[in-house]
Structures are given as structure tokens and as C-alpha cells.
């Protein structure tokens, strides 16, 4: 199994969620993060204080999937999150040794449903 970590634009979240839904990826965890990459910086002024905002708002997705789902999931994200402008984000794929479903105690493949794409 793998853990897919994606950092995307907040305003692309809904599109990505939709794409994942179509890819039949059911479970995922989302968090608000701040990111820095090639984006140009925003300048803000508060009275005498001027600041460069070095970090942009991003959304981080964490998705545990079984092997057959890795490419499907990555493709879904790449497709839905792209705008073509600097700041679109990154996707990381990390290997996972164990997965447990807390509710049932099921392990590994069984814990990330469906284990294989409907098509297969």
C-alpha cells in the first residue's frame, strides 16, 4: 500500500475531490497548509509595517491506497489540480507498511476499500 500526499491550490480542492470520487477513491484526509515554492510573493502593509507574505495558502491531501490505485489516484489529482501557473503544487508517493481500520481492526488491503478498482 502507498500513502499519496498531495499539496494543491485551495480553489482546486472541490475539483480534485470530484475527480477522486470518479476514480472511486473513497477515503482521504485533508488539511489547510501554507506553502512556498516558485510563487511570487504578496506584499501587505499594516500602518508602518510592510511585509512580504512568503507563504501561500494550500491544501494538503493524504490518501492511503492499495497498489492498483496508485496511478489512478495520482492521475486524477494531476488532472484536476493543474492550472498551469506556478503554484499548482506537488504530489508525493510514500510506501506504507501497515494500514489499520480503527472501526473494525481490519488490516492492510482490507483497510483501504475498495482494494481493487471496479474496472479490474
Amino acid at each position: 500500500m502507498k500513502l499519496i500526499i498531495a499539496v494543491i491550490r485551495p480553489d482546486k480542492l472541490n475539483d480534485v475531490l470530484e475527480a477522486l470520487y470518479h476514480a472511486e477513491v473513497r477515503g482521504l484526509t485533508v488539511s489547510r497548509v501554507m506553502g512556498h515554492g516558485g510563487e511570487t510573493e504578496r506584499v501587505e502593509t499594516y500602518r508602518g509595517t510592510t511585509v512580504k507574505m512568503g507563504l501561500q495558502e494550500k491544501v494538503r491531501l493524504e490518501i492511503g491506497v492499495s497498489e492498483p490505485f496508485v496511478d489512478i489516484t495520482v492521475k486524477a489529482i494531476l488532472g484536476a489540480a493543474r492550472t498551469g501557473d506556478v503554484g499548482d503544487g506537488k504530489v508525493f508517493v510514500v510506501d506504507v507498511e501497515q494500514v489499520h481500520r480503527i472501526r473494525t481492526g481490519e488490516r492492510d488491503e482490507a483497510a483501504v476499500t475498495p482494494a481493487t478498482p471496479a474496472g479490474v
Binding site: 512556498h36 516558485g38 504578496r42 501587505e44 508602518g48 509595517t49 512580504k52 512568503g54
Partner: protein, 440 residues
């Protein structure tokens, strides 16, 4: 408002200051001024966090731009001697506006009191075009609008213009303030077009407690708005005040019931909206109807506004904070119901129920004339402005949020990862080397 004023003048041939009336009008003016910051919170809480400062500033800036315009020109155009359509320039630049009595209060105070109405009326419109209109053009718009729409209509009704002469009843501004702002908001929303996320993503209120705070402070200020429109601390003020106390209660309760029936929940945003709609509806009637009439008006006025909000949300008309449904429809309902419930016994002219159907007709005339004039004039103003400048922010700026793009600020910042640009070196390279290659 004319009625009590005339009365006052009649009462003492040689008008003199009445300290008690002055005291009440000093307070009323402060109360109505507070309504504009209150509106900033009512509106600001309803938008997304990234647009909250911009939305609030649309109200606050009216305090400056419209307020000054009022003192310099618009007051005179509204209230000084003039034609049936527009006042003159006798009082331009506050000429001849001093502490001498106007009715029973200092003239200068009367000017300030009326100014607070002009300010909030302009600010009300902003609710229709939030989250997308550029700030500069917005300011230009409300300035022109106050001059070309508010001042004339105020003159028609209160300044000795034709509607007042006709006998149209508008105690505290149902027509001048709410119908005026409501229809203009509708037109503005149509001209500006929908927000890029409209009907594509959920756009939710970022801070509902702010909406409740705004509603509470609006109610509080509205006692000056309606009660103060008696221009004296007398029975008429007490009637207007009490009706302003009762009508929103009825709207709040009926709104809650409709919410409960429709989606099984009484909502907080609905409650706040109901209070405002009730206040709008009672505004033209406040000093003319009985308390029981006020309860009836509050209850009845709930329905058109409630369902207009549902209907509007299904259309492509992005009147973002439903200014038309709330103030336009609410104001129309109130203006017409004034013609139904008004009673001589309570300070008005008799209305339909008191056996005088004509009054309802007169009210309709008031409604229609302001609807048409304000609608057309707003369209013209925005088209002209749109020809000389760009009214809307770019989609990208809209996505980033109006706070950052229009004001270079964020409502809530933690300062994390923000690099200080020491003023000393704002042009020289910044000491804390910035992260982005750009900065090289």
C-alpha cells in the same frame, strides 16, 4: 417624516429650540450613525473570510465619502427650497446651516441626522456586489448615486417634493432608503455579473456571530432611525419606537417558523435576516400605525422577502447578500402596508382598513416612481462608470480574495512565514533575505 416636522412648526409660530427634542435627536443621530458599522458586520460576516475586510470597508468608506458629499451639496439638494423634483443650493457648503431652530432642534443637527440616512443607504447597496467589485469604482459609484439618486428621491418625499405633496406616507424612509437601495442593488448585481464561484462552489458565511452582532446593533440603531424621525421626544416618537420594537419580533418568529417547516431547523442567519426585514418593513409605517398593526406588518412582510431569497438563489442574479429581497421587497411591502394599516389616531393619514383606499394608491405611486427612477439612474451611472473604468476585479484577483488584492491586507493573520520589510530599507534589499528567487 414631514408630518411631525410640519406639526412641530405649526405648534409654535415662532419656532424655538426644545432642549428635550434636541437631546433625543442628538442621541438618534448617534444611533443611526452606528448603523453603518453595524451593517459592515452584518455584511462582513456573510461573506468569505478572504473578502471580509473589503466588504466591511464598503460600508466604512461611505461614512467618509457620502458624509462629506452630504454636508457640501447633497443636503442642500435634498432639503433646501427648490422645485418639486430637486432642492436648491441655498444650503450648499452648509451656508445658513447653524444652531438656529429647524422645527424644534438646531438646524445643524437636523443636517447631521439626515446625513446618517444618506450614508447607510449608499452602504446598503454594497451587499449586492461584494466579493467582486473593485474598490475605487465602488466609491465613485456611491458618490454619484448619492448625488443623482438619493438626493432627488429624498427631496421628493421629505424635502417638499411632489411625493410628499401628494400625501405619500414614508415615516422614516421605506421608500427613500430601502426601496431606493434595494432596486439599485438589483441593477448593480445585474451589471456587475455573477461571482466566478457563483453556482459552482458553496459560498458560505465566514463568521455568523458577526452577522448576529450586526443585526443586534442595527436593531439598536434603528430606534434612532425610526424613533428619531419624529424629530421630537413626543408621543409620535414613542409610537414609532414601540413599533420598531414590535415589528421585527413578529418577523423573527414567522421567519423561524418558515425555516423550521422548510428545512427542519431554525437558523441563526435566518433569524438575523428576519430581524432586518422586519425593521425595513416597519420603517415607512413606524409613526403612523398602531402597535398591533406593527405586529401584523412584521408578520406579513416575512413572506415576500423570505421566498424572494429562495427564488433569487435559483436564478443567475447574484445579488450576493440579497439586498433586493431584504430591502427592496421589504421596503415595498412596508410602503404598501402603510397604506393599509395607517391610522389618523396613531399619527398617520387613515389607510385602507380605516376606510381610505386612496392612500394605498398613493403609496403605490411612491413605490413605482422610486423603483423606476432609482433603477434607471443606477443603470446609467454604472454604464457610464463602466465605460471609463473597469468595475470588476479580474477572476484571478477574485480567487485570491478582495482583501489582499484591493486592500493589501488580510482580516486574520498569524504573521507566520511573513518577512518583515524594514521601512528603512523598503526600497533597498530586505535584511531578512526573502525566500523567493524573485527577491534576488
Amino acid at each position: 417624516m414631514t408630518t411631525p416636522l410640519l406639526l412641530a412648526v405649526v405648534q409654535d409660530a415662532t419656532p424655538a429650540l426644545v432642549p428635550a427634542d434636541t437631546a433625543w435627536m442628538l442621541v438618534s443621530t448617534a444611533l443611526v450613525l452606528l448603523m453603518t458599522p453595524a451593517l459592515a458586520f452584518f455584511y462582513g460576516g456573510l461573506v468569505r473570510s478572504k473578502n471580509s475586510l473589503n466588504t466591511m470597508m464598503m460600508s466604512f468608506v461611505a461614512l467618509g465619502a457620502v458624509g462629506i458629499l452630504w454636508a457640501l451639496v447633497a443636503y442642500s439638494l435634498s432639503f433646501s427650497e427648490g422645485s418639486a423634483l430637486l432642492g436648491g443650493l441655498t444650503n450648499a457648503f452648509l451656508a445658513g446651516v447653524g444652531t438656529e431652530p429647524k422645527g424644534t432642534i438646531p438646524h445643524i443637527l437636523f443636517m447631521a441626522y439626515q446625513g446618517t440616512f444618506a450614508i447607510i443607504t449608499a452602504a446598503l447597496i454594497s451587499g449586492a456586489i461584494v466579493e467582486r467589485m473593485r474598490f475605487g469604482p465602488y466609491i465613485a459609484f456611491i458618490v454619484l448615486w448619492t448625488l443623482l439618486v438619493y438626493a432627488p428621491v429624498a427631496h421628493w418625499v421629505w424635502g417638499g417634493g411632489f411625493l410628499g405633496k401628494l400625501g405619500v406616507l414614508d415615516f422614516a424612509g421605506g421608500t427613500v432608503v430601502h426601496i431606493n437601495a434595494g432596486v439599485s442593488a438589483l441593477v448593480a448585481a445585474l451589471v456587475l455579473g455573477t461571482r466566478k464561484d457563483y453556482h459552482r462552489q458553496a459560498i458560505l458565511p465566514h463568521n455568523v456571530p458577526f452577522v448576529l452582532l450586526g443585526a443586534g446593533l442595527l436593531w439598536f440603531g434603528w430606534f434612532g432611525f425610526n424613533g428619531g424621525s419624529a424629530l421630537a421626544a413626543n408621543g409620535s416618537a414613542a409610537t414609532a419606537f414601540t413599533n420598531t420594537f414590535l415589528a421585527p419580533m413578529a418577523t423573527l418568529v414567522v421567519w423561524a417558523l418558515l425555516d423550521a417547516f422548510r428545512n427542519g431547523h431554525v437558523t441563526a442567519v435566518g433569524g438575523a435576516t428576519g430581524i432586518v426585514v422586519g425593521l425595513v418593513a416597519i420603517t415607512p409605517a413606524a409613526g403612523f400605525v398602531s402597535p398591533v398593526g406593527a405586529l401584523a406588518i412584521g408578520a406579513i412582510a416575512t413572506f415576500p422577502s423570505y421566498f424572494m431569497i429562495l427564488l433569487r438563489a435559483r436564478t443567475r442574479v447574484d445579488d450576493s447578500l440579497d439586498v433586493f429581497a431584504g430591502h427592496g421587497i421589504g421596503g415595498i411591502t412596508g410602503a404598501l402596508l402603510t397604506g393599509v394599516f395607517a391610522e389618523k389616531a396613531w399619527g398617520g393619514t387613515d389607510g385602507l382598513l380605516a376606510g381610505n383606499p386612496e392612500q394605498l394608491g398613493l403609496q403605490a405611486i411612491g413605490v413605482v416612481s422610486s423603483l423606476i427612477y432609482a433603477g434607471v439612474a443606477t443603470l446609467v451611472i454604472l454604464k457610464v462608470l463602466g465605460a471609463v473604468t473597469v468595475l470588476r476585479a479580474e477572476p484571478r484577483a477574485e480567487g485570491l480574495g478582495m482583501d489582499v488584492t484591493q486592500h493589501g491586507e488580510e482580516a486574520y493573520t498569524s504573521g507566520e512565514g511573513s518577512i518583515l520589510v524594514l521601512p528603512a530599507e523598503s526600497d533597498a534589499p530586505s535584511p531578512a533575505p526573502t525566500l523567493a528567487p524573485a527577491a534576488r
